[in-house]
Symmetry: C2
Subunit: 205 residues, 2 copies
């Protein structure tokens, strides 16, 4: 029959996969369901994606660049102090995770054996988000706002702490009585405080 151009169908598969991911969640995303939705047999998808992992990789990359756009728009706000810009980045990261739980899940919470060997070029793009954090941290080091430390190490630590908050909220492991916004806000403040020079004295307390 051959009615669809190769790239057209590939895009339709991806669009449908994204829609189903967001509406039903990763656990219910199946090749057969995607196929049914676009009116093809399940095996057709395998003509455009090697397997389910590769399809999910494409969705992960979409999520990574969505997050990147949001972080970029926040980190470019000049005129703000370095500390505030780092705080904004952290806050934006958390908000992205809570706003896009399905994207967040496949990006950062899927078991590694579900996304076999994430390709190097995509991984490089994913790392740009971390580099955004690292560059702001480096600025802070230069301006004596943060302690001198390998910026990628510092960024990784800050990221992991934000990830802890987001993932525990998404996987519903926090006590229901806990004020999540409070946890988020305090987390961001405490993380940043942990990297500030020791001698800093604030007016309060």
């Amino acid at each position: 029959m051959g009615q669809e151009s190769k790239n057209g169908l590939q895009r339709r598969i991806l669009d449908t996969a994204r829609r189903l991911l967001i509406s039903d969640g990763y656990a219910r995303l199946s090749m057969r369901k995607i196929a049914r939705e676009i009116g093809y047999s399940a095996t057709t998808i395998y003509l455009h994606f090697k397997n389910k992992d590769q399809l999910v990789h494409a969705l992960i990359e979409e999520g990574v660049s969505r997050l990147h756009r949001r972080l970029l728009s926040r980190s470019n706000q000049n005129g703000e102090g370095v500390r505030k810009r780092l705080r904004n980045l952290c806050s934006e990261y958390v908000v992205f995770g809570l706003d896009n739980p399905e994207y967040y899940e496949i990006m950062y919470m899927l078991h590694p054996e579900n996304l076999a060997r994430y390709p190097a070029d995509k991984y490089r793009r994913a790392r740009k988000n971390l580099e955004l954090l690292a560059s702001v941290y480096q600025e802070g080091v230069d301006g004596n706002v943060f302690q001198r430390l390998d910026p990628m190490l510092a960024a990784s630590i800050i990221w992991s702490h934000m990830h802890g908050v987001v993932s525990l909220i998404l996987s519903e492991r926090f006590d229901a009585r806990l004020d999540k916004d409070r946890v988020i806000g305090e987390s961001i403040e405490r993380v940043i405080r942990g990297f500030e020079p020791e001698h800093r004295i604030r007016s309060t307390v």
Copy 2:
């Protein structure tokens, strides 16, 4: 036939499930495989556990009490300062996660829809681990070592940061070049620093 006493078989199921969980991981843990291993049909398991979720809940509870024993042994080390005891608790938590990745996964990383409504009594036991952290924090508040803050809030934040580190290591999201031990050590230090009073002055920088 009825050769096994009810409780004996229940224990055998659980033992086998635990063994398979640890050796093959949660993703490959199946009712049929457990059954095959103990020489019964798969449906026999349903005479002792309502469904797979409930079986996993039992394993989660095992993990929770294993972790509890380890945290207890660390928090009871009197003679140590409060700061060091909090650090030891954090360190013990991380080590537990890295040493027992399969337990850790079902305890804190499984998607909530996979463990439908974790029963309240088990949840209470799980919270005791957090309370261990909280009580050490409260001691620190009393001794002016940590800032005054709702101890359960502080404990939740500290926990979430440790969870971030553990889960990103287990799900292999950190850059391979990153020194994980460094990340762990710095994370613990920075987290604690974030809760220390502002005016503290150290000898180094």
